[in-house]
């Protein structure tokens, strides 16, 4: 059966969703004091940059950003083997006592976030860590939940959720590929 692909969010909807997420982050922390956005490689990094810019525009304050590559903290090296490309981790700020928002594109099993929490613990002890994701597709394998969700989907395990960002893919979109369709 050929795999079907349907657009869940188009570019306009992605933009609207990111704006809402930016507002929700400011609301969650009642401002931007001590807030650091950390994107997970790869597409979480672009999304966190966009959200940070949106917050900066409205709140007129600078939001420190970082990126986290969790490849070396994965729990499947012995089974799946090394990932072809390990991305950069850049955390030029101390995260001690800060309010860290982890930003990722898709929340699925929760294993990536588990790894990110482990990695962040090696960098310091934030006052709080929150999680913001563009898409929560369900299917958790660990007790992890997102504080801020752009779009909730109930995707079948056979389906794939692709998040495209302009910087890397030439367009902004969220697509559901294969599975039961949508």
């Amino acid at each position: 059966m050929p795999s079907s692909s349907s657009t869940v969010l188009n570019a306009q909807a992605v933009g609207r969703t990111l704006r809402r997420m930016a507002d929700e982050i400011v609301e969650l922390f009642d401002g931007t004091d001590g807030v650091i956005l950390i994107g997970i490689q790869r597409r979480g990094v672009q999304l966190s940059n966009r959200i940070a810019l949106l917050i900066e525009e409205r709140e007129e304050s600078k939001i420190p950003r970082g990126s986290l590559d969790i490849t070396l903290y994965r729990d499947d090296l012995q089974t799946v083997g090394p990932r072809p490309v390990v991305g950069k981790t850049e955390l030029p700020w101390s995260i001690d006592g800060k309010r860290v928002v982890i930003v990722d594109d898709v929340l699925y099993t929760g294993r990536t976030i588990r790894a990110a929490l482990d990695e962040l613990a090696d960098f310091g002890r934030p006052a709080r860590i929150a999680l913001a994701v563009l898409v929560d597709r369900g299917g958790r394998e660990l007790p992890i939940h997102a504080d801020i969700v752009g779009k909730r989907l109930d995707a079948s395990p056979k389906a794939r959720v692709d998040v495209l960002v302009e910087e890397l893919d030439g367009e902004d979109a969220v697509k559901l590929v294969g599975g039961d369709g949508a």
Binding site: D69, L72, Y73, D76, L77, Q78, T79, V80, G81, P82, P84, V85, V86, G87, K88, T89, E90, D118, E119, D122, F123
Partner: protein, 317 residues
């Protein structure tokens, strides 16, 4: 058995493709950052056991491997020849099989005999990393030299690198030659005729008889250690003579038409193949090489580790 993008073992650069070498260098890049963290450790190789089996003296390479292993959270054991059962006459294979019987995952081997690493790799199931075998290869040194050059020059394509000194006996030279040629660099050697391999020009390598010519031509010099026992072997007349003709000095470097990168794999004989004001001068990247050594070795360990295809299939199903 596990098989990775690099295969089971890393024995040399001669049999790696350009793509595989680039993969190692690209993977090494993000590993540099780990050594700058307050907690210089990631859990990647937690539970893996690695034996560093050193049949020859080594400080830099052994410590560099050990740091790389520890920063990836592997458990490591160092076996040196003196004080081990090797000094009681046990063969290499028996030593390794006994280690393997204690359930290890990788062996890093340094040995005086060319081919020792391959010999071992063919006889044990663990991954084997060659940390220098005789005059054959020292792949991780070659890789860290490539990484240092690539960092400085942006690319190796078309860049001119001259390997200076005792090329004939140097495993560092051999690994560098293979790596540089595969990544598209132009390669030359410079040294006394007695210390250059025969017919090296047939590999597409330029031969300089005078260090001044090499300095005129090159973007980078990789200055090899002159093994002092070569003098007894009659390869060179005297150390002073060698320094006068082939030693890299400030005075000779001042005539270079462009900024030269100065590399040395260590340990240095200051005042023989390299003068102190060159080794410690502004063009020297010798300590960068040492820093990059840890990142490259982390990359190699990471790429050789794990990846059991059967388990991966089972996990998918």
């Amino acid at each position: 058995m596990t098989s990775s993008a690099l295969g089971k073992d890393l024995l040399g650069l001669e049999h790696l493709g350009a793509g595989q070498i680039r993969l190692i260098l690209d993977t090494a890049e993000p590993f540099k950052e780990i050594s700058l963290r307050a907690i210089k450790k990631v859990p990647t190789l937690r539970g893996s056991t690695i034996v560093n089996l050193f049949f020859e003296a080594s400080t830099r390479t052994r410590i560099s491997f050990e740091f790389a292993e520890k920063r990836l959270s592997a458990d490591t054991v160092n076996v040196a020849v003196s004080g081990s059962s090797v000094s009681k006459g046990e063969t290499l294979v028996d030593t390794a099989r006994n280690l393997e019987a204690m359930k290890i995952d990788m062996v890093v081997i340094r040995h005086g005999a060319s081919g020792a690493a391959r010999f071992l790799a063919e006889r044990i199931e663990s991954n084997v990393i060659n940390a220098g075998d005789g005059t054959h290869e020292h792949p991780t040194q070659g890789l860290l030299d490539l990484l240092t050059l690539r960092d400085r020059l942006g690319t190796l394509e078309g860049k001119r690198v001259c390997i200076c000194g005792d090329v004939l006996h140097s495993r560092v030279a051999r690994s560098n030659l293979w790596g540089l040629l595969k990544l598209g660099a132009e390669v030359a050697v410079c040294g006394p005729r007695s210390l250059l391999p025969n017919a090296i020009d047939e590999m597409g390598v330029t031969v300089f008889r005078r260090i001044e010519e090499a300095i005129e031509w090159a973007d980078a010099l990789n200055i090899l250690r002159l093994q002092l026992e070569r003098m007894q072997g009659g390869y060179i007349p005297s150390l002073r003579e060698y320094n006068r003709v082939f030693g890299v000095t400030r005075e000779k470097l001042d005539r270079a038409p462009r900024d030269l990168i100065i590399m040395h794999p260590g340990p240095m004989n200051r005042g023989v193949e390299i003068d102190s004001d060159v080794a410690d001068g502004p063009h020297s990247v010798i300590l960068e090489q040492v820093t990059n050594g840890v990142a490259v070795r982390m990359a190699v360990l990471y790429l050789l580790a794990g990846g059991n295809p059967e388990l991966a299939e089972a996990a998918k199903g």
